[in-house]
């Protein structure tokens, strides 16, 4: 509901204060990454150095955790893309028994507190005698990543007229050609945006992961250990900064992709 009038001063101030509240702590992360202080969180930092970036780059535990997180996020995203798109297509293209139940089922893992999902999955794995592995983490992540892809895809399917599919078939395209030449190009940007957001969500997840990882260390679990039992604060500072940078990029890309289609990308994390 854009309008041309000037905003009231009080509104401008409140909105600006809100922005400062939202952004200042993240800005602080960047400053502390270059602080020369090693033992405490002293403000203002007594001096600045880039030495800790080098130290961090030579820490194998950080690299291992990063590698595992990237692997898990990549696989979870692919799983979420396939399942989320299939479900969205079924729910938005046809009416069938249990359709409402499925759309509720998909939001359940994010509507319920993560700890419940975590504990449930852990007991399910125990019950089915599944040993902890990368795949148990992936299954946990895919569970709540599906909804991200699903929401983006459903929104796009709703905007894509069913007549387009009819039209393609009418003109002689078989099922596969219709999918490749009409359906996929129409939902591609929504899937890409959903996939990137799912990737970011999985990359960052810690609550469910603590229950499904066993003794494997993803990057968030590494961070959690550092928060509870700090070993080398400056390294944590640098890792924190790196994580922020890594998450900004997909967000900006997702914004760019769904800009024309308005609200689909992040409104439904």
């Amino acid at each position: 509901m854009p309008s041309e009038r000037r905003p009231p001063l009080a509104l401008t101030l409140a909105a600006a204060a809100g922005l400062v509240f939202l952004l200042a702590p993240i800005a602080l992360i960047f400053l502390y990454a270059f602080s020369s202080e090693e033992k405490s969180f002293q403000w203002p930092p007594p001096g600045f150095t880039v030495k800790w970036i080098g130290v961090t780059l030579h820490r194998p535990d950080v690299w291992q955790a990063l590698g595992l997180s990237l692997k898990v996020a990549a696989i979870s995203t692919v799983v979420a893309l396939v399942l989320g798109t299939l479900t969205a297509a079924a729910v938005s293209r046809s009416r069938f028994f249990g359709r409402e139940a499925i759309s509720l089922l998909v939001i359940l893992p994010i509507a319920l507190p993560g700890i419940i999902t975590g504990i449930s999955l852990r007991s399910a794995f125990a019950l089915l005698d599944v040993p902890f592995s990368t795949w148990t983490i992936v299954l946990g992540h895919a569970t709540f990543c599906i909804v991200i892809v699903y929401n983006n895809a459903v929104a796009r399917f709703r905007r894509t007229s069913g007549a387009l599919i009819d039209a393609a078939m009418d003109l002689g395209a078989d099922g596969l050609q219709t999918f490749r030449m009409v359906i996929l190009p129409n939902i591609a940007t929504a899937l890409l945006a959903g996939g990137m957001l799912a990737f970011a969500l999985s990359f960052d997840e810690v609550i469910v992961t603590t229950f499904t990882a066993g003794n494997q260390t993803t990057l968030p679990i590494w961070m959690l250990e550092e928060l509870v039992r700090p070993r080398q604060r400056p390294v944590t500072n640098v890792v924190a900064m790196a994580v922020v940078i890594v998450t900004i990029l997909p967000i900006l890309a997702a914004y760019y992709l769904t800009r024309d289609g308005a609200q689909t990308a992040g409104s439904d994390k």
Binding site: A167, D170, L171, G172, N186
Partner: protein
């Protein structure tokens, strides 16, 4: 000669709803056929049955003598101009038009040339590089037409093709459609709820209601000799009056009388004018005659009585048409 499309006892039910109910129909090769009816009368479902988007619940459809049972839309040599056109938004005009050739594996250069030719046919030469979103309603309509014609289908289906256009454009497109059909000699099947459109374009018209064909005939037959009250009511706003008032048939029967066939006549029956509406070429009067409401159209050059006036009206007996009892 084989008929283009044949329906034999075709029904399509959606749960308890009988969208199409035991329809028999033969559309001739090369004719312009219209399916006319209110929304929900089954005409669009019939079109979708021919295109292959729906399969009949019962009965048999043949296209040029070949059974269409179980044949998916993409194996039918039948193309559709969709309501609201359904142009692919991620393609430009040329790729939209060439789509049918592309899925059949024609090379890029060849199909682009063919698309240009098809665009010329609908007077849109040079629009190939534009996006569908940049076109006006009338231009989109032409693109949709070119896209449906490029495959050289045996039957062209048109689903309310002019519904989204304004009046002037609609009349122009009607002329063009008619000319195009005559030139190509293809079988056109038009679905519409607009009686003027059906009557002015088609060689033959089928009037649908509640999943069945109520009357099938030439436009003149449908207009002049409606078979039932429903057809008389729906096709042009005819007066439907009891036989006693009309002066023909037996009590309990009904007759139709066109508003333009009622004239002011000092020797006629007494009626009261309840309203007068100026329509340009004609003036429409609403009348009350022995408790019956009638409407009459009076040519503009004739002086029309004001509301509340007592007038005398008459009609020639040959304009009365006795209706069959409702099924």
């Amino acid at each position: 000669m084989t008929d283009a499309v044949t329906f034999r006892g075709v029904s399509r039910h959606f749960g308890d709803v009988r969208a199409v109910d035991r329809v028999d129909l033969a559309i001739r090769d090369g004719e312009f056929f219209a399916m006319l009816g209110p929304s929900g009368s089954g005409k669009t479902t019939c079109l979708r049955l021919i295109a292959g988007f729906e399969q009949p619940t019962a009965g048999e459809i043949e296209i040029f003598g070949t059974s269409a049972r179980g044949v998916p839309p993409y194996l039918r040599n039948v193309n559709t101009v969709f309501q609201n056109y359904a142009l692919f938004p991620h393609m430009n005009v040329r790729d939209n038009v060439a789509f049918g050739l592309r899925v059949r594996g024609m090379g890029r250069r060849e199909r682009h040339a063919a698309a240009e030719e098809a665009l010329a046919l609908v007077e849109l030469s040079g629009f190939g590089a534009r996006r569908a979103g940049e076109l006006s309603g009338g231009q989109r309509q032409r693109v949709a037409l070119a896209r449906a014609l490029i495959n050289r289908p045996r039957v062209v289906l048109l689903d309310e093709p002019l519904g989204a256009l304004d009046l002037k454009l609609r009349e122009q497109m009607q002329e063009e459609l008619r000319a195009l059909q005559a030139r190509l000699g293809l079988t056109f099947v038009l679905v519409t709820h607009d009686q003027d459109e059906a009557l002015s374009l088609a060689d033959r018209v089928a009037v649908f209601a509640e999943g069945r064909i109520r009357q099938l005939g030439t436009p003149a037959q449908i207009y002049r000799r409606p078979a039932s009250r429903f057809v008389a009511d729906f096709v042009g706003s005819s007066n439907v009056i009891p036989a006693e008032v009309a002066g023909i048939g037996a009590p309990g029967q009904w007759a139709s009388l066109r508003p333009e066939d009622i004239r002011l006549d000092p020797a006629g029956q007494a009626a009261r004018v309840t309203g007068r509406f100026f329509h340009g070429r004609v003036t429409k009067l609403t009348l009350e005659l022995r408790g019956q409401r009638l409407s009459a159209l009076i040519p503009a050059q004739q002086a029309a009585p004001e509301a509340g006036a007592e007038v005398r009206i008459a009609w020639s007996p040959e304009h009365l048409h006795l209706l069959e009892a409702e099924a």
